[in-house]
Amino acid sequence: MPAKLILSMDGSVIKEYPLTKERTTIGRKPHNDITIDNLAVSSEHAAVITILNDSFFEDLNSTNGSMVNGAPTQKHFLQNNDVIEIGKYKLKYLNDQPTQTSAADFEKTMVLRAPIKPSAASVVPVAESGAKFESTTQYNATAPKPASAVAPAAAPTPVAVIQILNGPNLGKELELSKNLTTLGKPGVQVAVLARRPHGYFITHVEGGSFPLVNGSSIGEQPHQLNDHDVIELAGIKMEFYLKN
């Protein structure tokens, strides 16, 4: 299903426009793909360039400008649910293709067929659109943060802490804030604590002996930690506990 723009004013939907063309123009004049007959709209106000599943908004130096998600915008890489504002009109961008349910099919790698020419320009498969793009600079997105690109599969695991129970660092605490935390002395004995969606796991990394959990050796396999387990590693005892 192609992405689409939904034109509305004052909360009432006027029309839906599927983004099937490589370049969809927005403006006051009737030759535009999306015509908005209002004097606040320039005759050629803006364009949306669509390359397969991605769309880019570009203001065409219009008199009154365009906003995306409330901020004045010249160029923007559109993300699902972005709202473009032109005068009193709103255009909502909907592109909900990669839902989790259809992910299996969608994620399959596909080949873009292109004539094979040994050292031809690297922009072969989208040559036509590529040419238009070459003069433009990079697009800025104000919307979602890249950090959310990889969605966690489950609710976040509660934060856990390791507290040292003996030796010179007695009483010190270490919060397990990363996915992986290594403990021990390199070359002597090292274990790794992995934070996973369903809990924390300790695994032996290197050294002649395996870590002990509550007094027994964990061997080579990952071992799931429970609240208040006591880990012993290279002579150091520490307690694992979950923070509320």
Binding site: I51, L52, N53, D54, F56, F77, Q79, N95, Q97, P98, A103, A104, F106, E107, K108, T109, M110, V111, L112, R113, A114, I116, P118, S122, V123, V124, P125, V126, G130, F133, E134, T136, T137, Q138, Y139, A141, P144, P146, A149, V150, A151, P152, A153, K178, N179, L180, T182, P186, V190, V192, A194, R196, P197, T203, H204, V205, E206
Partner: protein, 300 residues
């Protein structure tokens, strides 16, 4: 552990007739540690990735197949077996660092390129003759370690990364729509993470009668770790997290490999995920005769 530097010149008595020993391939078992793992992931019912590796020959090959039914597995399987068997066979009698007659290129580089093309033709012909395989293809990334270097050939979006000291970086550049958009400035590297066009490759093995693999040669350093992976890893796990994992677990490559796969699966595991890790434990310079040294000294 890095070996203590040895300052004495290599003793001539070790290779009594140095100049005649050039035809001897170096066994890289002592210099390289290689592990590899492949996993179907959390969503797919079968695994279309194929991997193979051989420390003795310094070879690592990873392919990510595509096509209906089991055609993807067939394509990646052909690619991996053609490269592995042809390269091993040739290196029984020749060395990867020798120059190929009539060209300035080394045999290792030529072997990678020619055998990717050979695999391409095998897959293409199979796809043409068997209707159930129509349209199958595969990405490939293959590394051949020789003479303190690595030659890497790739087609598509399977990658090779390198961890050197603190720096973890991509060495290969994907043949994908997204990479081309990044290169031409349509989209920034940061925003590329948000793109919906992640899985579109612009080159693949077996789709057309010919293919142009990209081949480059890099110097290696002792302590380097090379990661070969399918996009099932780098689409699910951020580069930063992959690098941190290798950094932390470099003392145990097998565990590092399984942790990477686990992270991809914990993040959703939407694709098959494969990794090969190669750690440079020591130098592996090709033996050079006095005469060869003299010639190269004059050339420089």
């Amino acid at each position: 552990m890095r070996a203590a530097p040895r300052w004495q010149m290599p003793s001539v008595s070790v290779h009594p007739r140095c100049s005649d020993r050039q035809g001897e391939r170096v066994n890289l078992n002592q210099a390289l540690e290689i592990v590899g793992q492949t996993n179907p992931g959390m969503v797919r019912s079968h695994n279309e990735d194929s991997i193979t590796f051989d420390a003795e020959y310094g070879l690592a090959v990873l392919a990510d197949g595509m096509g209906g039914y089991n055609a993807g597995e067939v394509a990646s399987g052909i690619a991996v077996s053609v490269l592995a068997s042809e390269i091993r066979h040739r290196l029984e009698s020749d060395t990867p660092e020798q120059k190929v007659a009539g060209s300035e290129e080394e045999l290792g580089v030529v072997l990678l390129r020619d055998n990717v093309k050979k695999a391409n033709l095998s897959i293409f012909n199979a796809a043409q003759s068997q209707p159930q395989y129509a349209g199958m293809g595969t990405t490939i990334v293959a590394g051949l370690f020789f003479d303190n270097r690595v030659a890497v050939a790739h087609v598509g979006d399977s990658r090779m990364y390198r961890l050197r000291g603190e720096v973890f970086e991509t060495i290969t550049r994907d043949h994908s729509l997204l990479q081309e958009q990044i290169d031409s400035g349509v989209i920034s590297k940061e925003l590329a993470r948000l793109s919906q066009n992640k899985n579109l490759v612009t080159r693949a093995v077996g789709i057309d009668a010919d293919v142009v693999p990209e081949v480059h040669v890099y110097d290696v350093a002792v302590g380097d770790i090379y990661l070969f992976c399918s996009d099932g890893l780098n689409d699910m796990v951020e580069d930063e997290d992959i690098g941190a994992t290798l950094q932390m677990l470099q003392g145990n490559l097998t565990l590092a490999a399984s942790q990477l796969i686990e992270q991809a699966n914990d993040n959703g595991g939407r694709d098959n995920v494969s990794v090969i890790l190669v750690k440079i434990k020591g130098g592996y310079a090709a033996p050079r005769g006095v005469w060869a040294k003299l010639v190269s000294w004059f050339r420089n």
